[in-house]
């Protein structure tokens, strides 16, 4: 359905990230590409859980006339996204620290130069 625009946005985000990973030679750009894919997947999880007109699944100060449970957005994807974001941060930190070390040793961040390991 064409009204699945949020899902299509997710795919576009993944495409942008994957493009960076596949075609950019700078290692930092590859790291950024991975982060963009990560954001795309996180956005995907969040959009999965949206329900039309749903409120946040919090009982404190609940607006009146909210139908339980159909009036709230799904809580599990939000929890999954929370976990996935933290994992993404950890991964990004590690990748960038590797990039720093690689620059120290190779004086370059070009993926066509950083290839002592081959064949």
């Amino acid at each position: 359905m064409i009204w699945n625009i949020p899902f299509i946005t997710v795919i576009v985000l993944i495409a942008v990230g994957l493009y960076a990973v596949l075609f950019k030679r700078n290692l930092i750009k590859i790291a950024v590409g991975i982060t963009i894919i990560e954001s795309g997947v996180n956005l995907f999880l969040i959009t999965l859980g949206y329900r039309k007109g749903g409120v946040a699944p919090i009982y404190t100060n609940l607006p009146p006339n909210v139908e339980i449970p159909k009036g709230m957005v799904l809580p599990v994807p939000q929890a999954l996204t929370l976990t996935s974001i933290v994992i993404g941060v950890a991964v990004l930190a590690l990748i960038l620290s590797f990039t720093m070390k690689i620059y120290e040793h190779y004086k370059s961040l070009d993926s066509h130069i950083v290839r002592r390991l081959k064949e």
């Binding site: 997947v41 995907f44 999880l45 999965l48 950890a90 690689i102 390991l117």
Partner: protein
């Protein structure tokens, strides 16, 4: 409270708490820290054997996180809400491998890793790596699988980069990190697709109500290719030689069983999640093709290598092919009447090869590490005549090399024999390629043995330190044991794993009730 009932949680929790404690103990005393880590690893091994024994005799063990009675899954709203750990024969089998290899590598590390400012963190990460492997193998929940996949890849990358004063070590870690993260992200995307369809995360629960629609097909492709990349199947194996070469030797030995955890996830996806719902003929053929390509390209790339660990890493790729071939034949025959005759035998061969490979390839990497420890080089051209002084290391190397080449009476022969004979029934060409690869494997290890251990005495070196020898000795002991009594091992350890994989209904019923 029954202790065996709590064993899955203890197995994951104990090394985790130990990992959090290690940096503190490191501040106090280095010797106490070494002892602490080794004691934890030995306890882990004992507990793992206990749990595996329980699973092999009593069937699938269930542990529901946070429930009042963990061994029963509370089916609120007819689906499991909480995270369920599900340990069947296959999980217990993989857990045994991980615990054994980590024990050997932990003891080996005492002398191998020099005392510096990083050794406390090294042991911390090693213990978390064990947690990651066990978590991946025990879990019955898809998102939990992703979390532990990430734990495993982050710790392995950090440990690959442990010797960060070499540029190529960091490069190998970077490559592995990029590869494993892309794989993990597409796994997460596939999990999202399955979640969107069924609003479930439990493998058994999804499998019970699954229909094979187009979303499931896309999820299947992403899961299979991501896990195949993580386990190093050709032509997605390029990261494997790179990162295996540069990691410290004990970490390389663990990395072998870490990529086998991904192999486990691949088999779990194919057999327990999709099973005979999917078009298992074509996926079986895909696995067989992966296997043949891995075997052949892996071994031919290994032959001309000059770096001892890179050569062994290509052999790791090549041996992964045997497992994919054996289990792929099983998947191809799943459901047909031939499955019970030779499909099971092919799967037994493939699964038995997993544990054999973890043991002898771990041993070979450890011997390569012992050579590196004394000579400070991995280049085969600079070696020679090591057998004059490093007697035990060369004996261990011979045993490992004969086992990997499939020479009787070592364990590699037993599993390869099962694969050859069962594959011959499907198509003789499969067996012929498998035997050819076995010959080439022997040839390339003859090369290593000749250039490293034979010849005149070129270097004035001593035998490797005791802790290295003990670490290698543990794996050698297992190899000889498995080589002498393959029938016992196959009947009591491998066969339960095969039946656990093949019987999807049992896996579902253990969680969802009959």
């Amino acid at each position: 409270m029954n202790l065996i009932q709590q064993m899955p949680a203890i197995l994951i929790g104990m090394p985790l708490i130990a990992a959090f404690l290690t940096p503190i103990i490191d501040r106090v005393n280095k010797k106490i820290r070494n002892g602490f880590v080794i004691v934890v690893l030995i306890l882990e091994e004992i507990f793992m054997i206990t749990l595996a024994w329980h699973v092999f005799t009593n069937g699938i063990a269930i542990y529901t996180m946070g429930a009042s009675n963990p061994s029963i899954v509370p089916l609120q709203a007819a689906v499991p809400i909480r995270i369920v750990l599900e340990i069947d024969g296959m999980s217990a089998f993989m857990g045994l491998i991980s615990a054994t290899v980590c024990l050997a590598a932990g003891i080996y590390s005492i002398s191998f890793i020099k005392e510096g400012n990083g050794k406390g963190k090294y042991y911390t990460l090693l213990l978390i790596m064990l947690v990651g492997m066990l978590g991946m193998e025990f879990t019955g929940d898809l998102f939990n699988l992703f979390v532990f996949l990430e734990i495993l890849s982050i710790t392995s990358c950090a440990l690959i980069a442990y010797r960060n004063w070499y540029g190529d070590a960091v490069e190998g870690a970077f490559k592995y990190m990029v590869v494993s993260n892309i794989a993990a992200l597409f796994v997460l995307f596939a999990i999202g697709l399955l979640y969107s369809r069924y609003d479930l995360l439990n493998i058994a629960a999804i499998s019970k109500i699954m229909e094979y629609g187009s979303l499931e097909k896309i999820a299947l492709v992403l899961l299979v290719s991501a896990f195949a990349m993580k386990c190093g199947a050709v032509p997605m194996h390029f990261w494997a030689p790179d990162s295996y070469t540069v990691a410290p030797a004990p970490i390389t030995a663990i990395l072998v069983s870490a990529s086998q955890a991904s192999l486990y996830a691949l088999f779990r996806t194919c057999f327990s999640l999709y099973g005979n719902l999917m078009d298992y003929h074509s996926i079986g053929i895909v696995l067989i093709l992966f296997g043949l390509l891995s075997m052949f390209i892996g071994v031919t790339m290994a032959l001309p290598q000059k770096d001892i660990k890179r050569l062994m890493a290509y052999h790791a790729v090549s041996q992964t092919g045997y497992m994919l071939l054996g289990v792929g034949v099983g998947l191809y025959l799943l459901g047909s009447s031939n499955f019970n005759t030779y499909g099971v035998k092919a799967m037994e061969g493939g699964i038995f090869h997993i544990i054999n490979h973890a043991m002898y390839k771990g041993l070979l990497f450890l011997t390569a590490g012992a050579i590196f420890y004394r000579l400070k080089t991995r280049n085969l051209n600079e070696m020679g005549g090591l057998a004059h002084t490093m007697k035990f290391t060369s004996i261990f190397f011979i045993i490992g090399a004969l086992a990997i080449a499939g020479i009787p009476p070592f364990n590699g022969f037993a599993s390869k024999l099962l694969i050859y004979e069962a594959c011959y029934k499907v198509n003789p060409i499969l067996s012929i390629i498998a035997m050819l690869v076995s010959i080439l494997t022997l040839a390339s290890f003859v090369k290593v043995f000749h250039s490293a251990f034979m010849g005149p005495k070129l270097h004035d070196v001593e035998e490797a330190p005791k802790s290295l020898l003990i670490g290698m000795g543990i794996l050698t002991f297992v190899i000889i044991l498995f080589g002498l009594f393959p029938g016992w091992v196959v009947n009591n350890i491998v066969h339960p794993a095969v039946t656990a994989l093949a019987n999807r209904i049992d896996y579902i019923n253990a969680v969802m009730g009959g």
